[in-house]
Symmetry: C2
Subunit: 198 residues, 2 copies
């Protein structure tokens, strides 16, 4: 039996007042309720990774593809490279900022190149209208990184309000909109990507 695949659910916004950890936590909880033993899923928080705005003297695509990690100039880049290499696939959970993705996510993606190549990527957006404008931008960027992006698109509507009431309302909206089924299908698409490769 093949070893269980390791999937990261990426918390993409790093601003202090973000609700991204709640949204990503919801996505992970839906996945963890699916009976299956072929993948383990964990949260990966870009705020914890804490990269500065890109300042490597190297071009990420120009380091050796088979072992890029030791070639970066900064220790934080080597740590990020090693961390991303540990995962077999990614679910990017991202807000929409000004009709695209936040700089925090673009920055983390741009820091490295070979580490993403060939791995499957799923996209979950959120915003007052579901963050749907961030999705085509992110999908194109991930294709540029030669990741295999999978369907369907999951767009979660958020609301304003006090934390507890807000979270309750959002969960109700998501369940009503069929988000759990979409997340389940999205996760199945990710797993299928591995079967196709084996």
């Amino acid at each position: 039996m093949a070893a269980a695949k390791s999937i990261a659910v990426v918390i993409s916004s790093t601003r202090p007042q973000r609700i991204n950890p709640f949204v990503a936590g919801y996505v992970a909880s839906v996945i963890n309720s699916i009976p299956q033993t072929t993948a383990k899923v964990e949260l990966l928080d870009l705020a914890t990774v804490n990269l500065p705005l890109f300042n490597e003297p190297l071009v990420p695509g120009e380091v050796p593809a088979d072992d890029p990690t030791p070639h970066y100039h900064y220790e934080y880049t080597r740590a990020w490279s090693a961390l991303v290499r540990k995962y077999d696939g990614f679910i990017f959970v991202t807000p929409q900022y000004n009709w695209s993705i936040p700089a925090s996510l673009k920055n983390a993606l741009d820091y490295i190149f070979h580490e993403w190549n060939g791995k499957p990527a799923a996209i979950v957006t959120y915003g007052f209208r579901g963050g749907v404008k961030a999705e085509p931008h992110l999908r194109e960027i991930l294709n540029g990184l030669r990741m295999g992006t999978v369907e369907p698109t999951v767009a979660l509507k958020i609301v304003k309000g006090e934390p507890e009431e807000r979270e309750k309302q959002m969960k109700e909206t998501w369940k009503k909109d069929g988000a759990d089924e979409k997340i389940t299908t999205l996760f199945a698409s990710l797993l299928k990507h591995f079967e196709a490769k084996n």
Copy 2:
């Protein structure tokens, strides 16, 4: 007579080995050779602005539209707000990173909101194939910020090589590709935006 409009040519990449200052300098030099007295053009370098990854506790669109500057939490945001307010229009000169714009530019755009609104924006991309994939992303983001984006698209092809030889080769390529005429037309479109508003 109306006061001369102030236009910033924005150096959008902040990585140490960037050629963005050379490319933006070329764009500014073409514009400065156009005989006209209705606008003054200067370089605005995002590396000098030196913003960290977005960490304001506020949502930029939620500060008062008529005087946003004093409402930001961090001094560097207030300085960026005041600087952007000084300009009437912008020419964003950007590289393409992974089929989109660099995080450094998205970050600078996302830090503020009202300061951009209603001002005209021109786009110049560069890359080995002209950076043409960055253009539709940036145009959509600028439209999201309610800027008036103008045409045509100017895409400048870059080459590899030692600095002096490289710059010479790029200038020759750009002149051969009609870049000077396109930049001149783009600048005229920016100025027309002001006439339309007066």
